[in-house]
């Protein structure tokens, strides 16, 4: 368990100049899992669902109605993004709890590591979330209205605009560090508890981590959704 508490992801090798870290490997695996599951679930879509299709429908329906309840007309655009954030983060969080993570080593480094215990991954998602948020704001408001959100002639509102710009950056930081902190802390707790006594004792913490994994995925997705909705809404005239 000497690898449990390291901030940096371990580099397994290089593809040209791209370092293949264990977290990147796991995120590819998670993508593969999601892809395979969705292809199987929708292999032959039947009007009377069964098995995996039933499950996929339940999940999608839940997600869609949640997004629809908040974003109304823009659901068609926002839903795929938000749902993908949610499904991806949920999958990698839960995959990180599987046995073999942190224990199987490759050239002295752990082969698998929970994706979100690497700030690269969470920051990547947070940056993307912020970029998409602003992209949709420009798309729905037009470039002029978008800029007017931040700049105003009134000195008070100019100051507010500056604060808002700062808050946009804090959003990125909070999104990325929240996810990273929760999952990394979970990893640390699990490896510590497993180090103390590996049988039965870590079980409650695993349950806890299952919940945390779900909650963090939901929080990230919902915050992204809310930011998108807020920013792409027309600014009230002052």
């Amino acid at each position: 368990m000497e690898h449990g508490i390291v901030l940096k992801p371990e580099i397994l090798g290089y593809f040209k100049s791209l370092p293949i870290t264990n977290t990147l490997l796991v995120s590819w695996m998670a993508m593969a899992v999601l892809t395979i599951v969705s292809i199987i679930a929708t292999w032959r879509v039947k009007i009377i669902p069964s098995g995996l299709q039933n499950f996929a429908e339940a999940v999608i329906d839940w997600g869609y109605s949640t997004v629809e309840g908040l974003s109304g007309k823009k659901t068609k655009v926002f839903f795929p993004l938000v749902m993908t954030f949610f499904l991806f983060i949920l999958t990698v969080n839960w995959m990180g709890l599987l046995p073999g993570f942190g224990t199987i080593t490759y050239k002295g480094e752990p082969l698998f590591r929970s994706v979100n215990s690497d700030l690269n991954m969470t920051l990547g998602l947070a940056l993307l979330s912020a970029f998409l948020t602003h992209f949709f704001a420009v798309k729905y408001l037009g470039i002029k209205n978008y800029l007017l959100k931040w700049v105003a002639l009134n000195p008070i509102f100019l100051f507010v605009g500056i604060l808002e710009i700062i808050s946009e950056f804090t959003k990125i930081v909070s999104l990325s560090f929240r996810l990273f902190g929760n999952i990394f802390a979970g990893e640390v707790v699990l490896s510590t508890v497993s180090g103390i006594f590996a049988f039965v004792v870590p079980l409650p913490f695993y349950f806890l981590e299952i919940i945390v994994g779900f909650v963090q995925a939901a929080v990230f997705a919902m915050l992204t959704l809310v930011f998108m909705i807020l920013l792409s809404e027309k600014h009230e005239a002052h």
Partner: protein
């Protein structure tokens, strides 16, 4: 930017993650969201249609039931009417039969009475004629001679009168 270094931030990894996300987004859109949302929509429509159809069927069924009820009431009425008529007819027939029988009986009785009366009259006549003979014979014996026709008759008649 020492802190970023400490966390092992690598722009290439960030980019890789963003690319990953877009690939996943594309795949899930193609294989998960689109087909599932489509089938959900389809099913919703189908259920709506089915419910509408069910309502229609229910309505028609009710109509048919009402029709049947009405028809049954009508039929029952008709049967009752026929029954009543039949009863009336039977009563009438019964009455007629009774009257006829009575009449017949009366006729028979009357006939019998007439017959009896006729018999009696006949007997009386006979008796009368016999009696006349007796009277004549008796007179002949008493008087000893035969009166002329006129006297004879007078006497006889007188005698009869006295007798009766």
């Amino acid at each position: 930017m020492d802190i970023l270094n400490q966390f092992g931030i690598n722009p290439l990894l960030l980019a890789a993650q963003v690319v990953n996300f877009f690939i996943l987004l594309f795949i899930l859109k193609r294989f998960l969201y689109k087909p599932v949302l489509k089938v959900l929509e389809e099913r919703k429509k189908k259920i709506e249609d089915s419910l509408k159809n069910a309502e229609e069927i229910e309505r028609k069924l009710q109509e048919t039931n009402e029709k049947i009820d009405r028809m049954m009431v009508k039929t029952a009425d008709e049967i009752q009417k026929m029954h009543d008529e039949a009863k009336k007819d039977r009563d009438v027939l019964k009455e007629e039969g009774k009257a006829e029988a009575q009449q017949l009986a009366l006729q028979i009785i009357k006939k019998g009475e007439e017959q009896a009366k006729a018999e009696r009259e006949k007997m009386q006549e006979e008796l009368m004629s016999h009696m006349a003979e007796f009277v004549v014979a008796g007179m002949e014996k008493v008087i000893g001679k035969v009166l002329n026709e006129k006297a004879q008759r007078e006497i006889v008649e007188k005698g009869i009168k006295n007798l009766s």
